[in-house]
Symmetry: C2
Subunit: 144 residues, 2 copies
Amino acid sequence: MPKRRLDNDFALKAQDRLRAAGLRPTRQRVGLAQLLFNGPCRHLTAEDLFAEAAAAEISVSLATVYNTLHQFVEAGLLREVLAEPGRAYFDTDVSNHHHFFHADTGMLQDIPEDAVVIAALPAAPEGARIGRVEVVIRLEKAGA
Amino acid sequence: MPKRRLDNDFALKAQDRLRAAGLRPTRQRVGLAQLLFNGPCRHLTAEDLFAEAAAAEISVSLATVYNTLHQFVEAGLLREVLAEPGRAYFDTDVSNHHHFFHADTGMLQDIPEDAVVIAALPAAPEGARIGRVEVVIRLEKAGA
DNA sequence: TTTCCTCCTTAGAATCCTTCTAAATTGTTG
DNA sequence: CAACAATTTAGAAGGATTCTAAGGAGGAAA
């Protein structure tokens, strides 16, 4: 039984994950997948991930970070969240849930799925079907 | 009794509206307010409004359109809606309602308030209060 | 109405985030 | 290992929005 470092384990898992999604497990994609999916779920921007990669000495260009994030969204590995205009946030939690958005800090915070109960939805207009229902609760500072 | 053209009536209404919101009724703000608030509610971008102003021969710079839109949001005359990353939409309907977002066309469509019923919301985190609850229902093309 | 002061508008540059480009590299398959 | 297609890259390009510094306009008071 070959000895393995933890890093390699993670790398292998990431590889499988990518292959399962139909994405070639390149060095860059594996590295980014490790950063994204090892550890707890969180929200980040492309720049955030680019900085993390640099810190982790994973050599990758910003263009590839953008490409990879979109491919991961496409593949269902990530979700894109709308919070602020002019900046895209990505959520490593792809399960069905909603968000608080702290208007003062620009921070996103998860809301567990069952904390929001939607009792009625309209029918989709002709020719369309409902893809996803996204609830964002904007938060202001308390003493306003 | 002085004779008045319809335009002037609208202009007077817009002036009052601006004054009530604490905004000086400048030529540009009055013009934009007329474009925005005469006629049915709708969604538009800064560029849309800039083009409408040009078409209506209201001389105003793009910078002022942006400034004015934000001031109107601040004053509660408009709402900003999140739909696509990288582009801000403004909604002339400030009443409580939600939106369909057509993923293929980028179009926003209003949902009457009572078509979405939210039965439970989480409490706001410590130090914050809930500002607004925004529901966006993403629509895909039907045959997908 | 004239003055004065402040707020507002402006054109253009600047900035920010994101995508594109064309060339070099890498993964995969035979 | 060769060959091919997919991927990565740096830098340029793009689009939306904000900033800047200067001139212009509202309106309160004289």
